[in-house]
């Protein structure tokens, strides 16, 4: 039942109030016919008796009260899906923007999706090798995980994400995988960078892009991640593909949400963001994962720039409470020319414990990363102490830890944008760095692994050049 109305009574910001309507449903899709002939899309946010509040995705500029015609479509926002979407570029609402033909759909899918039954989920435990030591070794990514990159303006988060897309693989398996890329309010240059990088690495044919650029309607960004995740769900669970979804930049998405909330005069939560920001973000992020008895999977990597690098800002804060860890980029490492500048101490992968170890990476992985973390943390403490008191005030052991922390940043974390390290290389490198310490300091590692990996390397069997022979020999004797 399609109904047309010409009864707009109020327009404010991105919102529009239509009166005298009947039979309108919550979240219904709306088309707005402007006098100029332009058609815009909107969605019902609230219905109160015969008044419907509509948010207009393309903004309200140019809409007038007497002449604009409103049509309620009796359905939610849907996008057409088929395997043909691979290699295509869409706008934030899922309409082709690459000049290609319209998609002949296998099915139309509502972009809001439905919550996955927790009982139907399969636990993510397949190790993804990204080739980046700071991720593989210390904050391991697994298939079906949601692992965001917390970054700041001017940090190379896009390059890290592109490197992950380029290098990510599951060891020992030949499977079809795809990339879904959702861009909310990023610049033309950034979008261009990703498209170019995907095309040089040959990933473009397996990629679906949903682009909403910085100069395009802000409210459309609310639909963009939903459209991207709907496409991902189709590819993963209908076509059995392993999908990596990159969403950038979530900060712009949240700002669009705040704009709507402010226009509705809702009681704001922290920093003016709506009280339901957590629920809203969760309804997007939680769409990734694995489902029992289904082949495909969705791994999600949202990128967000933290205003003022503040991790307690509502956007990173609420994201961190939903996602299974976070990769945090650091400005001070960036200054030290560490690339990628991943700050491993506050970074975390919650799912790593089940994705590593014997049969997945290597038996010693868990003990090893605990030891590396503990060592690096103590080294950073020593560094702080050194800033205050000078190096002379440090104990012999503190100096050793300080040295370790520096080596660790320069050799382990830093590796460059195009180096693809295997997990074996990453693990061996970790043992190599631990050669600095006497055995008594290596408390987090089981004896058997110390025997097997630590002393073995001490005897010089490692392919990697020892860091400093003198220290190594002294300490292992």
């Amino acid at each position: 039942m399609i109904k047309d109305y010409q009864t707009v009574t109020e327009i404010a910001g991105p919102l529009m109030l239509v009166s005298g309507v009947s039979g309108v449903k919550y979240q219904e899709l709306v088309e707005i016919y402007l006098p100029s002939g332009e058609i815009r899309q909107g969605q019902v946010l609230e219905v109160d008796e015969d008044r419907a509040l509509v948010q207009v995705f393309q903004g309200t500029a140019g809409i007038d009260i007497p002449q604009s015609k409103i049509r309620f479509l009796s359905k939610g926002i849907t996008i057409p899906l088929s395997k043909e979407i691979l290699g295509r570029v869409f706008d934030g609402l899922g309409r082709p923007r690459d000049g290609g033909p319209a998609i002949i759909p296998d099915l139309w899918q509502d972009i809001n999706g439905a919550p996955i039954n927790p009982y139907a989920r399969e636990y993510p435990d397949e190790f993804i090798q990204t080739g980046i030591s700071a991720i593989d070794g210390l904050n391991t990514l697994v298939r079906g995980q949601k692992l965001p990159i917390f970054s700041g303006s001017g940090l190379p988060h896009n390059r890290v994400a592109a490197q992950v897309v380029r290098q990510a693989k599951v060891l020992g398996k030949e499977e079809t995988f795809a990339v879904v890329f959702g861009a909310m309010g990023i610049t033309f240059e950034e979008a261009e960078f990703f498209q170019k990088d995907f095309s040089t690495s040959g990933a473009l044919a397996r990629t679906v892009l949903f682009l909403n650029l910085a100069d395009e309607p802000a409210i459309e960004r609310i639909a963009t991640p939903r459209a991207a995740l709907t496409a991902a769900e189709y590819l993963a669970y209908e076509c059995g593909m392993h999908v990596l979804v990159v969403l950038t930049d979530m900060t712009n998405y949240c700002e669009a949400l705040r704009e709507i909330s402010a226009a509705r005069k809702e009681i704001p939560g922290r920093r003016g963001y709506p009280g339901y920001l957590y629920t809203d973000l969760a309804s997007n992020y939680e769409r990734c994962g694995r489902i029992k008895d289904k082949n495909g999977s969705i791994t999600l990597m949202p990128i967000l720039t933290m205003p003022e690098d503040d991790k307690t800002h509502p956007i990173p804060d609420l994201t961190g409470y939903i996602t299974e860890g976070q990769i945090i980029l650091s400005r001070s490492l960036q200054r030290k020319k560490v690339s990628p500048p991943i700050d491993v101490l506050p970074s975390l992968s919650r799912l790593k414990d089940k994705g590593i170890g014997k049969g997945k990476t290597r038996e010693d992985h868990s003990d090893l990363f605990n030891q590396l973390f503990a060592g690096y943390a103590r080294g950073k403490e020593a560094e702080e102490l050194q800033v205050i008191l000078g190096e002379a005030a440090l104990s012999e052991m503190d100096r050793l830890y300080l040295k370790f922390a520096n080596e660790f940043e320069q050799k382990y974390v830093s590796q460059g944008e195009y180096e693809d390290r295997s997990i074996q290389q990453t693990l061996d490198l970790g043992w190599e760095l631990l050669q600095l310490f006497p055995r008594v300091e290596l408390k987090r590692v089981r004896d058997e692994y110390l025997e097997k990996y630590w002393t073995k390397q001490g005897q010089g069997k490692s392919k990697i050049e020892p860091i400093e022979n003198k220290t190594t020999e002294e300490k292992t004797e």
Partner: protein
């Protein structure tokens, strides 16, 4: 009841307003729209009712019908609860998957207890016995770990006319009771409204500890059976791991785990892991004493609000049978946020940070449902219900309204620090900020059952940790070299307490659980080393030599000694003696 039907006039997210609802009471359950979505009345104005809907409301609009049920939101209690996984309003998620597939669709109506399954009922009373509310009339072995008691439901007391042994479903009568005016049939299943606490004879003071196998908790900040605790911390500080460890290893008979607005994969983790883990006491899978309630963050927000009440009502039901029950709510912040969202849609005047003004009253009310009680019925059973809530304050800021409201009612505070978490010191419970008001309550139990001086040991260790914090301040100002040798020894021992005792790896097969006697033995050894090293230094040994002793590594590894080889920990004392005596010998030779 007369056939009535309301009509929707407004839809705003999870809130629906309907007219023609006269006759409905507050907190009555209603069915919304043609799909019969489940909702609850939360405000009445004339014949207008505001309804929070427990399912997504997309596609609902004015004119759609609302069907009142005139009954409050209730849970079904009886055999079949254990090992179940429910959503926030007690719909079994495993059955939902069987019926509608991998996604939760709307308008699903599945009862909480399986109507077809037969359970073996064994009477414990006979015809002619007088019974009253809460009297146990029989039992049903539900799993190897749990035998449910079947109790006389509310509103019934009198004489048993007939009682049968045999296999029954939960809705078949197992007994008949003659009350003053009529004969009533008794079923194994009963219903109870979730927002009302189940009654008991009397609340009792708590006296027994609830050991958790987690060293920092049991030794320094113990919780009592029937007590309350909260775990606030920023994301990534290990709240959920602590809750999981608690569910796995705590010495409770029944575990109720509520995943309230948290990650879907965490619930999957519990579902996959618990059947594999075995109870240290009985050797049975831990799942056989567990009820799970999962309302993940992407499931409807209003059902999140209901999930904590659903959980605690089930917990109270088991408490009434005389069990010691532990309930974990992860995370209560999501519950509070659900209240805030609904309150905002009702356009109520907000209190702190947009939370409703009744936030702290609701939180206090919830935690007060914990406790140790003498249950109803004719035998004097005692049951206990311990509640542990985690809190996710924005930015880890403890001045958050939910944290502050919770701290006013709970007795144990495990404060998680991200600084410890960054150094991968888990559990990241700060030993300086946390507290437990049960330390004195459980002191006698520890002295009697674990070790006479366990309490003093813990106190001595805590003193060393406090001293360490002071010394750290000094080091930050003037450097480590300026410390006296005895202070450096304190630093060394405090480091050992931190790294070798407090640090506990939840993913290590042995380290994940430590019995109280092992905890006592470990602490005893560290303090023994401290005393002996102090003596040796008085005899002239150098602190730098003590810091290099090989036995320190042996102490560091004692956490990996299995529970059945505890004498090995004591044996290390011999090594301490011999290594320390060598230090003074060499001095003498010189």
């Amino acid at each position: 009841m007369k056939e009535t039907k309301g009509t929707i006039v407004k839809v705003s997210g999870p809130l629906v307003v309907a007219n023609g609802m006269a006759g409905s009471k507050m907190y009555d359950v209603v069915r919304v729209g043609d799909q019969k979505l489940i909702g609850e009345v939360i405000r009445l104005e004339g014949d207008l009712a505001s309804i929070q809907v427990y399912e997504e409301t997309g596609g609902i609009g004015p004119g759609d019908p609302v069907y009142p049920t005139f009954e409050p939101l209730s849970v079904e209690l009886g055999p079949g609860l254990i090992q179940a996984i429910y959503d926030g309003i007690q719909r079994p998620l495993n059955i939902i998957r069987e019926q509608v597939g991998d996604y939760i669709t709307r308008g699903i109506d599945i009862p909480g207890l399986d109507r077809k399954k037969r359970w073996h009922f064994k009477p414990e009373k006979k015809a002619g016995d007088k019974v009253k509310l809460g009297s146990v009339i029989g039992s049903v072995p539900e799993t190897e770990l749990v035998t449910q008691k079947i109790m006389v439901p509310p509103g019934i007391s009198g004489e048993i006319v007939e009682i049968k042994e045999g296999d029954f479903t939960v809705t078949e009568p197992i007994a008949r009771i003659k009350t003053d005016d009529e004969e009533k049939e008794i079923y194994m299943m009963q219903r109870w409204p979730v927002r009302r606490a189940r009654p008991y004879q009397a609340k009792l003071p708590v006296s027994q500890p609830l050991p958790t196998g987690q060293r920092v908790i049991d030794t320094f900040f113990p919780i009592a059976k029937g007590g309350t605790a909260c775990v606030p911390g920023p994301f990534g500080s290990g709240k959920t791991v602590i809750q999981h460890q608690f569910a796995k290893w705590s010495d409770a008979d029944i575990i109720i785990f509520i995943g309230c607005g948290e990650r879907g994969n965490e619930m999957t983790d519990v579902l996959l892991e618990f059947p594999k883990l075995t109870d240290p006491k009985s050797g049975q899978p831990l799942m056989k004493r567990t009820v799970l309630i999962a309302n993940t963050s992407n499931m409807p927000v209003a059902a999140r609000e209901a999930s904590v009440y659903t959980g605690i009502t089930i917990a109270e039901y088991f408490r009434d049978m005389g069990f010691s029950v532990a309930l974990q709510a992860d995370s209560t912040s999501r519950w509070a946020e659900a209240m805030r969202e609904i309150s905002g849609r009702l356009e109520e005047m907000p209190g702190e940070e947009g939370y409703p003004a009744y936030l702290s009253a609701r939180i206090a009310e919830f935690y007060e449902r914990a406790g140790s009680v003498r249950t109803l019925g004719d035998s004097d059973k005692t049951g206990s219900l311990s509640v542990i809530g985690s809190i996710s304050p924005p930015g880890g800021d403890l001045s958050d309204a939910v944290v502050q409201a919770t701290l006013r009612v709970v007795k144990v505070f495990w404060s998680l620090e991200d600084k410890l978490a960054f150094a991968r010191h888990f559990p990241a419970i700060s030993w300086l900020n946390s507290y437990s008001l049960y330390t004195d309550t459980v002191k006698d139990f520890f002295a009697e059952k674990v070790a006479k001086d366990f309490f003093d040991q813990a106190k001595a260790a805590m003193l060393l940790l406090e001293k360490e914090a002071e010394l750290e301040e000094i080091i930050r100002l003037v450097g480590k070299d300026s410390l006296s040798p005895s202070d450096r020894l304190i630093l060394e021992v405090a480091r050992s307490i931190r790294e070798d005792f407090l640090h506990q790896n939840a993913f290590h097969e042995i380290d994940t659980y430590t019995s109280l006697s092992k905890q006592s033995a470990m602490l005893d050894l560290i303090l023994y080393f401290y005393e002996k090293a102090k003596d040796t230094m008085e005899k002239g040994a150098d602190i730098t030599d003590i810091e290099k002793l090989a036995v320190l590594e042996r102490i560091a590894r004692m956490k990996y000694i299995p529970e059945n080889e505890l004498e090995k920990i004591k044996k290390i004392k011999g090594e301490i003696d011999s290594e320390l005596s060598k230090l003074t010998q060499t001095e003498e030779v010189k």
